[in-house]
Structure formats: structure tokens, C-alpha cells
Symmetry: C2
Subunit: 531 residues, 2 copies
């Protein structure tokens, strides 16, 4: 593919330039351009930050709309489920009409027809891989490309073990705190720090409006857990839930543009006794809601019994399903237990069903798992779920890291990413304690970007290797600013170095600021090479 | 063993109480006592913080002195190598006389004689294991118990794969910054946050005085790299080094009480060309110094050729040797390369030699290693070094985490700890950028304590499991303060929770502060159990 570079407005010294690489078929793919060694070396890094300079109350440009319309398989009509009265959505973000497919309009469907979409070409160009690989992996169910036709603002990306390991950031307000605007700002901030997808887990008031603000401003796919909103609609009482309320919620979210939804359809009634004898019971919010419903009604989980109807809706909008692990272990003692494994097997069956409808699928994974039990999770998932992409929450490798759970989670995430997990759900330092602030979001993201990158390296991804090799060259040559440019947080790296070496200019000295000139091993090593 | 609890002066609410557990043979072993569930549950955690209330200029009580003297195999005499003139050591910390063994006085020697020392009993009680296991592992060389007879202040601890994974903190000033007092304070701070050993890597002025201050105030074993001081003595010019200068330095440090020394005796002349063709060359300070010496003299590394004489000195004081990996990889591209592997094989031969002299040994390991190459490091070390304890620097699983290298290192450290590494050398967020502040020391330590604990859990250590299970019970019961008490940093965990839930009392509410009452899965799960 012929790629031409175009410069975007933003340009800061250390961060590099946000550029668009233009493919020979006219797609403009975002990248962070890092110029090194005084211009002798250039690295293009994967960029998730999205278009800049747009006003929050107007939203991002609808990049994918022409592609979607050009396929000629959708129709536009007034919303089937209108917004709640009085919801706080500015006029510039309202979308009174929505698209709906006349048949399946999923990327999986196209891939299986042998059709290569612009979305696939865009995702392939971002990863520097052949688009045919993208199509094949989508068709086989080993990857998904979340791309709701009503979220044309999103920049296509692909999730699967053959591609870069992705990181999801959870945000969203709760009844206990944080405003709508704060959460939208957090979402933009998350994209700035490398979130590949963002899940809006809001449970508080203004849930519709928050989501509308987010979707119109989100350059990444947005995921949700619709059961949260459904429970809000029935006054917070799970036993009042019905499939009708749920489906209405799902359709409304699909019309808004949600790209993937967590559905806890694997929490079967017969598994509840297994979870009851655990140390921590059920720690998934969705899982707990559905278990309560099953108990109250003495019936099977309605998400399971109505799963085919759900799939019929999802494929009309290309909403992907993330099969939720409602019975994931909430502590080390519960890891890989019968409740978890029984549900995982059911998720594999549900994946088959979703694929029959050409709905894109991923499988959610734990949770709290000690290192010695990690590999079994990946092995069983591959076996039972036919290699559907695995999307894990960490896993956290110990229960006791409160205040530092992002590190516990990065350890497990790196390992399972290497073993084949396709996307890691981040955990912030506030996990188990409270809602993350912007700073927590950043800390959580960088920890998991490191984990994902370490997994990419261990899998031998060429883009990952090139990045590390550029850093090694910069270190050996004492190119300090280049080292900062190659860091996840160039400003922090630069500031740390400045603090340590206040008297020298930041790029001039040829010794390490930890050791000083006499004890600088690299300096000695360079002298050695010259001999 | 019968254990009786004695309360030490310090007592804070969240941190728990520092207590001493008295064994039936009269040893007083430190522990952190955590009282949970309103007094219904008690957990004793391993504690490294050392005696409190001592004045820095007087030092800690000489706990081990009576044990050492009672063995009747040492003599006390004026220092063979007196302190440098004008060194800044307060009178209360001066020790004009030192002990020296009349023969080998190492814990390995005693273990091989079938003698169980108080040091072994102390270490065994701390880990809650049979003292015979400690003796056997020491005798077999699979563990070491660093305990210089001139550092009687240290609380005995054991390093080996059958025991808890340990964490070392590197501190020490450089010519570029930080004062003597600051470094001693950092050492105490490191012990407060869980450092099992501390290495003093000072290279600047006052190197003798810094070490004297540290040793007299260190409750943990102290390690050094004597070649740093030796190079200072010859004006910073490696080519001026001689074995005589080195040996004098070593004896002086042994008389001061250094518990283990890194010796880069495996940097052989023939390996230097292997390192020269690498991306990063030699990144170990000691390795670079010795390579420079070999090149300048056209001779074999004098630490290698004189290694037997070195061992003869070490065993007179029970200074353990940490065989330094002077050729460790400094970037992902250099991992597991011929230079590194050649040196590791030589370290195995040197370990055999040291053992012949009954010197205690550990083997230093990398460095920068991608996850897929980690296991080979451990396997080769076990094979070539006959299971001598492996002491790794991380490993860092990517090069690009500058500013967050503690996380990159915790990922690799957790994995290699699980695979069998006995001690992890921490890395702070300032790695590659500058010298760590106190806050960096804490962040680095906690990240690696999490890694070590995760490794203990994965290996099935009962103490580790008990800790996590206590946390799981506290979470399920909404005992918030208990959760803080069980965290590495109770104050931080408490503060994070307070911030999120300002209106509620910290221990009263029975729902999670992330979700609020309606969406609290644990609350629902508990209700479920009651049905």
C-alpha cells in the first residue's frame, strides 16, 4: 500500500506530530509521527487520540458515514426509541434519525462474503498488515471490528490475537459522584493516553445523555452494559426486569451508536448454586443482577433464552457482543472454579449462536487469577470458544494490592496478552476503592499499555520491536529527548530527567544521569566500541 | 515452635502493631500484627521495618552479637584497614575494632556441619517454616542467609526459592546529587516499605561514611559493589585498578559489616567482543569497568584470576557473594544473547568455587528480557549454576516504559519469581532517567512487593494465600478498614476510599464505593446467599 503523510494541526515537541497517513485508496489513517536522531529516523506510532479541535457540543466528523451509505444496505428513519424527555443533550449532538440495516450489516458478514470494507482497510493500515489478514480473521471469528453504523465518528480498529493487543478503559459515573461533562472529558483523556476502546459503565442519572455526548465525541468504539440502564428503568429492582425492557434499551443504545455490548447471557440458573459457595460470590454487577432475576422468577436467564432475538437486533446495526463473564472470580481463592468454567463453556455456545447471525463476538475473561492458573483460562477459552477474541479484566494476580491494583492487573494482563488475549480491560489505582479521577485513568491506561506492548513484543510483533529498538538506539547514543519522545508519557520522562540533572542541558551530556560521567556504563561501552 | 507475642512501642490504627513473636528458645522475631473483624481474626505479616525509636547517630542494637560470640570461632582486633581520614562518621557509629573468623564462619559452613544457628532459627520463624528446611537449603547452596559477623544489627532472613520471594532496594548517592543523611533516611524508608535487603550503590564522596551510617542503622542485610569504591580510590580510572586496591576495599567493607558483595568475576576477556557487537553494549557499571581494565591491560579480569583469594577473605566474615551479571542485556534486542549466556555459564563455575570455600552465593540475572525469553534465563541458571539462588533486576519486559519502568520490571519480576527467582532487585519510576527520591523508592518497592507476593501465591506459599484470603473475606463483609489494613499502603487505600465516598463513615456502609448501593454486586451476592 502506498502511504502519503499529511500533517494534522497539533504539533508539540516531545509528543511528536499527529499526522494522517494517506493510503493509495484515499483513506486517512491517524498516526503519531516521532522524528528521531535529528531527522535521520522516523517512527510512526499507533494513535488513538482522535481528531482534534472539534467542539464537544458539536462532536467529531462522521468519518465512516459515506462508507456506510455507499454499501446501500441501510435505511435511515426516525428513532424507534426516542430519547427520554428532558435529557441534557445539546442540539449539536442530537441525532433524531438513525440508520438500520435491511439485513445483516456487520463487518463479519461482509468478511464472510469476501467483501473488503473501508473499515477493514483502515484497520489494516493502522496495524501495517495486509487487509486480507483482517478479512480472514474477521470471517473466522478470531477477530472483531466494532463499528456500529450509527457511530460513524469512530476510527476503525481491530481486536484479535493476530493484531496488536488492545486496551479498554472503563469510565462512567455512578450515583455517588462525577458529572456528565467530567465523564466525557475522561473519555477524551482516555483516548489521549491510548485507550483503544472505551466502555461507558454509567449507572447514575443522565445515562442516555452521557452516552450521547460520549458517542458523538468518541474516536474509538464505545461499549456498554445495557442491563445497567435496564435496571435503572425498573427502579433499580432486578426482579422487575423483563426482556421487553431490556430489548428496548438495547435498541435505543444501538440507534445511538454503541459499538459493543456486554451481555451476561452465560449466567445460567443452574450455575448460581456453584457461585453461592464461593468466597466472594458474584462480583460482576451484571452477573449479580441476572442471578437475582433468576432467583426471583425461578426461571432461566432471559438473556440466554432470548439470545437469538438479541442477535437479530444486533446485526441490524453491527453492534458486537462481548459475552460477559458474570461469574468471573472476584478473589484468588475463587479462580478457575466450577462456576467460572461452567459459564465459559456456555459463552462458547453463545458465540456459535451469535456467529450464525453474523454478529461479531468477543469473550470476557477474569478477574482475579494467580499466575499459575492464568494459562488454563486462555487454553479453555480457545478450546471452548473456538478462538473468539478473549477480552480480560487484568487479570489481577493478587487480591491485596488495593491502591496499586493497576500493577497487579498489568502483571496478569501482560501474561495473558502474550498467551493470546486480544484486549485487556484496564484497572486503575482506585479499583476496589472508588471511582477513578482523570489522573487514575491515565495511570491505569499507561500500566496496561505497557502490559499490552510487552505482550506484543513477546509475540514478536514487528511494530513493537521497532519501537523498542528505536529506544535502545536513543539510549546508547545519549539522545535524551529522543528517549522522552519514545516514552508513553514524554513530559513525565523529561521532567524526571530534568529534576535529576538540573545543571546540564537535557540533550547535551553523554552520560547517564543516574551514575554521573565516571560511572556511566554506556559511556564506557561506547569508548570500548571505538577502540 | 511455641510463639509468644510481645508488643513493640509503635502502634498505629491502620498499619497494625509492630510486635515481636517470642519463640520457645527465646528469639524475638518481628512481625506486623493485623487485627481484623473486630478482633475475631489476627494475621501476622512478615516485617522488615526494624527496631524503632533508635537514634540514627547511635545505630540499632547489636541483636546478633551474643550469638556470634557464643560460637567461639571469631577474634576481635583493631581494624585492618582503618577509615579514611576525616570521614564523617559520628562517634556513636564508629567501630574501631572488628570481628574476624579464625576459620570459615559462614552460615553455609555451619549448615554443612549440621549446626543450626540462631540466625537460621530466626529466619525460619519469620517464614513460619521448619528450621531444618533452612539448614538443608543453605547446605545445598539453594539458599543463602547474608549475615556478616560485623553487622550484628541485622535481623536474619533467608533468600532461596523454597522461601518467600524477597525484594532488594538499591540506594546510594552519586556525584550528581543527594547527601549522606538523605541516603541513610532512604534506607530506613526502604525497610519501612518492605525492602528485604538494601544495596548501597554510592559512587560519590563520603562513600565510607555513608556505608558506616547505613550499616549501623540497617535491620536488613546490606549489599555493595566494591569495585565502585575501588575505582574511586584510583581516581575514577579503571585501567589504574589492581587486585591489591580491590582486596583492601573488600576487607574494609567486610570489617564494616557488608553482608553481600556483587563481584563481576564472570566478565571474561574473551566475552568482550561478544558484547561489543550488541545494540547496547555493556550496561552494568561494574561490567563496563572490568571490560575497560581487561582491554587496557590485555589480561584476564583480575576478579576471575584472584577469585579464590577473594573467597578466602569473604568466608572470614561471612560476606556472601552475589555473582554480578556484568554482561546483562540492556535492551530487549540483546536479551539471552551469546555474551549474556557465556557469562552465566562462568558464574556457575564461580559458584562452585565459592562453595568450596563455604562462601554463600547468589547469581545476578537480567535486565531487559521480553516475556517469551524469560523462562530460558531461569532454566539456564538452574542448570549451569546448580540452583544457586537467582537474583534478578526486574527483568524489564520492554525498553519503552521510561517513567514507568517499575511496572515493566514488576511484570518480569513476578513471572521470574514464580519460575523460581529468589530475590528481585527493584526498579523505580526514575530508572534510566535519574536517582530515585523517597517517593520513588516507595513506588518501586510496592510494585516489586506485589510482584514477589504474586509469585509466592503462584507457588502456593501458605502465608501468601492466607493474606489474600483475609482480604477476600474483608471485601465480602464490607469491612473497609480491614481492607486498608491488608493493603501494602493502608493510608493510601484509606485515602482513596475517603475521597470517593466523602459523606459516609469509612466502615459503615455495606456497598461498594465504585458502584453505589443499587449496583453493588457484593451486596447482591450476599443477599443471594441469605436466600
Amino acid at each position: 500500500m502506498q502511504i502519503t503523510e499529511q500533517i494534522a494541526p497539533r504539533q508539540t515537541t516531545l509528543w511528536g506530530e499527529k499526522v494522517y497517513l494517506e493510503t493509495d485508496d484515499g483513506l486517512r489513517v491517524p498516526a503519531r509521527k516521532v522524528v528521531l536522531d535529528g531527522g535521520r529516523e522516523t517512527l510512526y506510532l499507533y494513535d488513538t487520540s482522535g481528531p482534534e479541535g472539534c467542539r464537544l457540543c458539536e462532536g467529531l466528523p462522521p468519518l465512516r458515514r459515506p462508507w456506510i451509505l455507499a454499501r446501500g444496505d441501510v435505511e435511515e428513519a426516525p428513532l424507534r426509541i426516542p430519547p427520554p424527555a428532558g435529557c441534557r443533550v445539546p442540539a449539536g449532538l442530537m441525532r433524531p434519525r438513525a440508520l438500520r440495516g435491511r439485513g445483516p450489516v456487520t463487518q463479519r458478514y461482509y468478511a464472510r462474503q469476501g467483501i473488503i470494507t473501508p473499515e477493514m482497510r483502515f484497520a489494516a493500515a493502522r496495524e501495517n498488515v495486509d487487509v486480507e489478514l483482517v478479512r480472514q480473521e474477521l470471517a473466522a471469528g478470531r477477530a472483531l471490528l466494532p463499528a456500529n453504523i450509527n457511530h460513524p465518528e469512530s476510527e476503525p480498529m481491530i481486536i484479535g490475537r493476530r493484531f496488536l493487543v488492545k486496551v479498554n478503559a472503563n469510565i462512567g459515573n455512578s450515583p455517588l459522584g462525577s458529572s456528565l461533562e467530567e465523564e466525557v472529558e475522561k473519555m477524551r483523556w482516555a483516548c489521549r493516553w491510548g485507550a483503544d476502546t472505551v466502555m461507558d459503565l454509567s449507572t447514575g442519572p443522565d445515562i442516555y445523555a452521557t452516552r450521547q455526548w460520549m458517542l458523538r465525541n468518541a474516536p474509538t468504539p464505545i461499549g456498554t452494559v445495557p442491563i445497567y440502564e435496564a435496571v435503572e428503568k425498573v427502579g433499580g429492582r432486578p426482579e422487575e426486569l423483563s426482556f421487553e425492557v431490556y430489548l428496548e434499551t438495547l435498541i435505543q443504545q444501538a440507534e445511538q451508536g454503541v459499538d459493543y455490548v456486554t451481555i451476561h447471557a452465560g449466567v445460567l440458573r443452574e450455575y448460581i448454586p456453584l457461585a453461592r459457595s464461593r468466597r466472594m460470590g458474584i462480583v460482576s454487577r451484571g452477573g449479580a443482577i441476572l442471578a437475582a432475576w433468576c432467583q426471583a422468577h425461578g426461571q432461566e436467564n432471559f438473556l440466554y433464552t432470548h439470545f437469538r432475538e438479541i442477535c437479530e437486533t444486533l446485526r441490524e446495526y453491527d453492534v458486537a457482543v462481548s459475552l460477559g463473564d458474570g461469574l468471573r472470580p472476584g478473589c484468588i481463592a475463587d479462580a478457575n472454579d466450577p462456576a467460572q468454567m461452567a459459564e465459559l463453556k456456555t459463552l462458547g455456545e453463545l458465540a456459535q449462536t451469535a456467529w450464525q447471525y453474523d454478529v461479531q463476538v468477543m469473550i470476557e475473561g477474569p478477574g482475579h487469577v494467580p499466575m499459575n492458573l492464568l494459562a488454563e483460562n486462555m487454553e479453555k477459552e480457545r478450546l471452548w470458544c473456538q478462538e473468539a477474541p478473549f477480552y480480560t479484566l487484568g487479570p489481577l494476580v493478587t487480591d491485596i494490592a488495593a491502591g496499586y491494583d493497576h500493577i497487579s492487573s498489568a502483571i496478569g494482563g501482560a501474561m495473558i496478552g502474550w498467551l493470546g488475549a486480544a484486549m485487556l480491560c484496564y484497572v486503575t489505582p482506585k479499583e476496589h476503592l472508588g471511582l477513578p479521577t482523570k489522573e487514575d485513568v491515565k495511570e491505569g491506561l499507561i500500566a496496561h499499555k505497557i502490559a499490552a506492548h510487552a505482550a506484543d513484543l513477546a509475540k514478536g510483533h514487528p511494530l513493537a520491536r521497532a519501537w523498542d529498538e528505536a529506544m535502545a538506539r536513543a539510549r546508547f547514543a545519549f539522545r535524551w529527548e529522543d528517549q522522552f519522545r519514545l516514552s508513553f508519557d514524554p513530559e513525565r520522562a523529561g521532567a524526571y530527567h530534568e529534576t535529576s540533572l538540573p545543571t546540564a542541558t537535557s540533550n547535551g551530556e553523554d552520560f547517564c544521569s543516574m551514575c554521573g560521567p565516571e560511572f556511566c556504563s554506556i559511556r564506557r561501552s561506547r569508548l570500548l566500541r571505538q577502540e
